[in-house]
Assembly symmetry: C2
Homo-oligomer: 306 residues x 2
């Protein structure tokens, strides 16, 4: 890809991501309980952390994956919202004092700072349950086999063999006497963020009842993309300011966080991310020009500045 076509793609991608983010926010507003009644505080806390923030990488992947197979945008948006609810819950819990103890997230106070710890814990729990509720309803897909397959995949990606397992490894790495080696860091990140990104990329193929070769290609794309994304995130932490990123930075090194950037150094980590992006793009070789956004997204994850 030349600089010029990359530049063009980035412009289109930004517009598409902004449109997706708007659509996802509107759908979330629709799918989440209104902040009224006796439990208004809970509903407000859920909404606070999931509506109107973040790049919507996961939701965008669902929408673009679904586009390959002519899935209705309405159905794809429901799955995009479910995955964004899971992602938001994980951030709420990750930010708690007993975990990373963060005050700032997406440029505003973390959930437990804006509300309180108990509310943040419950809001996270409620978002996880609600995400499964959204997937399970008929509006997501008329075929129950498709809906239950999405539930099965998301539950696995978010559970002990997925995100929660990675979260645990991350907590333990901070307290370990020896730093993790490259393969342990790779596994930690695959579990903590990779599995959910993989699910996001694959979900559209499930919604579209795609042939298994295409489904597996999208999943593989998501896996490489997720790994590249994590390195890019760590690179941002190491090199950007908090103002640019909207959350505290340069805290990985201080907290003894296990990252590939810490292990390999900035330049080698960047090379590795670029290699992962190339592999991610390679998995899309069998796809039409409709996958152009997914290709551009792969470039974007390592080019982004926030």
């Amino acid at each position: 890809m030349t600089t010029i076509s990359a530049g063009t793609a980035v412009v289109d991608l930004n517009a598409a991501m902004a449109e997706a983010a708007r659509d996802i926010d509107a759908a979330l507003d629709d799918l989440l309980p209104r902040a009224e009644g006796d439990e208004a505080r809970l509903f407000a806390s859920m909404r606070y952390s999931v509506i109107g923030g973040g790049k919507r990488l996961r939701g965008f992947l669902v929408l673009e994956g679904a586009r390959q197979f002519n899935v209705s945008r309405h159905a794809a948006l429901r799955v995009a919202c479910a995955i964004e609810m899971i992602h938001a819950y994980s951030l709420i819990h990750d930010d708690l004092p007993a975990m990373d103890d963060d005050d700032l997230r997406r440029g505003k106070p973390t959930n437990h700072r804006a509300f309180d710890e108990a509310t943040a814990i419950i809001a996270g729990d409620a978002l996880q349950a609600h995400a499964f509720h959204v997937l399970a309803q008929e509006a997501t897909h008329p075929d129950p086999a498709v809906r239950i397959e999405l539930v099965r995949m998301m539950a696995r990606a978010a559970g002990p063999k997925g995100m929660c397992g990675g979260q645990m490894l991350d907590m333990m790495a901070e307290q370990a006497s020896e730093p993790l080696d490259e393969s342990a860091i790779g596994r930690l990140q695959l579990l903590k963020t990779g599995k959910l990104i993989e699910f996001s990329a694959e979900a559209g193929a499930v919604l579209g009842k795609a042939p298994s070769a295409q489904r597996h290609a999208l999943a593989a794309y998501g896996r490489e993309l997720g790994a590249a994304f994590q390195i890019a995130d760590d690179l941002l932490d190491a090199t950007a300011s908090a103002e640019e990123v909207g959350k505290a930075t340069a805290k990985d090194a201080g907290a003894g966080k296990a990252t590939l950037v810490g292990l390999l150094g900035i330049e080698r980590a960047r090379l590795q991310a670029e290699s992962l992006v190339a592999q991610a793009r390679h998995h899309l070789d069998g796809f039409s020009e409709r996958a152009e956004m997914l290709r551009a997204l792969a470039d974007f994850v390592i080019a982004r500045r926030n």
Copy 2:
């Protein structure tokens, strides 16, 4: 029911509940990740709170509901395990310092005391995801429509319009300047514990593709039973010792907890629980003698001493 027949029923019920608890523990042992590998601490923490503890009221309801419709015990046990995972996760999070701050649960240290707060938060999160994963797998029922209906029901019962909503009301009630009135307490308890108990009673009918009248009767039975159970729990807190119950008692009054016992006094609360039990039994009128355990269970919830 005479004293003698009640006595007989209680003996049978105890044996049946003990057998169900053993079977549920064996199935949980099978369904939960082994405590090995790098995430062993997470898996151990999940197992610590879900295996080998509690009366298994919810799991027993699933098994006995399923028995009405000749559902395979293997399938019913999977759903029983899923609901016990949800229940266990809610207790882990409920016991956290930011919530009820309890040190003792089921006669042993609470999860965050045995492990640590971060592990307890993640273990609860992982148990919730894993519960949905268990429901979603084909081994639970060959018909995806049945599995997705169970997921939909459990997600709703556990989510913002169910257990999490009740949890939030409970937290807010402790900080409120005015005590809750009877109807507000009833709603709090319906959400916090009733919805999950209702789901447990109804799940067997879904597994057995029961006619909707029977399904609704079991759900109604579960609703009344759940309300009676909650009053019985509060009565135990007010009248029994910690040694008998296996967790701290007499703390509701101290913590300003909103309970019907606090509002109505012990005697009127007991009468109300008995009335609920009679209604619960009434919903089983159309069921055969196979529902005898469910009838005995209704009596048991207000007779129990731990």
